[in-house]
Symmetry: C2
């Protein structure tokens, strides 16, 4: 049975009363850095690369397991790598099939995940920075520690957090503005 | 000259094209915790109290200046006290004169200030936590340090951050959703 297409049109009237799709004044529609854009993919790759370098540098020192904060940094960078890599894959898929990733549930999930991983990696970077500054400036025992590696890993973790913050803010903004 | 009221109605049509006032679907209008509400004032007072306790406990130990992270915690809690106290005063004023604080510039300023102070106090709490765990669990030298005070101050700084996060998220949400 083939009904003619125009019969479907009257059904399209109700949506304006239902605020699921963005009503008006949503400026962030195509801002670079949102998921599913080339900017978003670049941010994800930067997060992944910085977290990966931090993980590699920290894991290359043989005495990191003796300090809890450095173990926590390793755990946080592993989680960050997994999260950013997964979302980079999703972004590549969205770019290849030219699909918009801006549905409500996906944005909500991205914002919550970004918020949690941002808090974890920032906390790990700050606690490592506290220890590094203690070893280097307060106690001056760099000669018997891998200060260079610890500082590099901490700096890379901060860089990963810097790349993650725009993703979180854009996703949260996008979640709020609809 | 008295024009009849219905003559005004055609003029009301343009506003929907101008997205200055919230269009539709804005749920956060009177959510407790926003600036200018009793919930917002309670959050500010909690932030102030926790940061004040953290500052007092940390400053009461005589050896905190020997560790950079603890000095940073003291600085961050002072800033947090000043910021939360100022905004508590603004909230009390808004409650007394029953004024709505939700104009665009004020919300923008509150969101940015909350974001900066949240990052500062969370970073300070994390770096102090890293040092405290190092002293207590990794090196086991609590006997010659004020571990109890350091841990209390760190926990209070985290509590202050927990009270600050809803303020930041609500302000940022409110900024995005108009």
């Amino acid at each position: 049975m083939f009904a003619s297409r125009p019969a479907v049109h009257p059904v399209e009237a109700p949506p304006p009363t239902d605020p699921v799709e963005q009503p008006t004044g949503v400026l962030m529609k195509d801002l670079p850095g949102m998921p599913g854009t080339a900017g978003g993919l670049a941010l994800r790759l930067a997060q992944f690369a910085f977290a990966g370098v931090a993980l590699g540098v920290m894991a290359s020192t043989n005495d990191f397991p003796s300090v809890s904060a450095f173990c926590y940094l390793v755990a946080a960078t592993i989680l960050q790598c997994l999260w950013s890599f997964s979302l980079a894959i999703v972004d590549i898929y969205a770019l290849l099939v030219k699909r918009c990733l801006r549905n409500r549930r996906a944005v909500c999930l991205f914002a919550i995940g970004d918020g949690i991983t941002a808090a974890l990696i920032f906390g790990a970077a700050c606690s490592s920075a506290g220890i590094t500054v203690l070893i280097d400036n307060d106690l001056n025992i760099c000669a018997e520690n891998h200060c260079g590696s610890f500082e590099t890993a901490t700096a890379m973790a901060f860089m990963s957090w810097f790349a993650l913050t725009p993703s979180f803010l854009l996703n949260f903004w996008s979640m709020a503005s609809r």
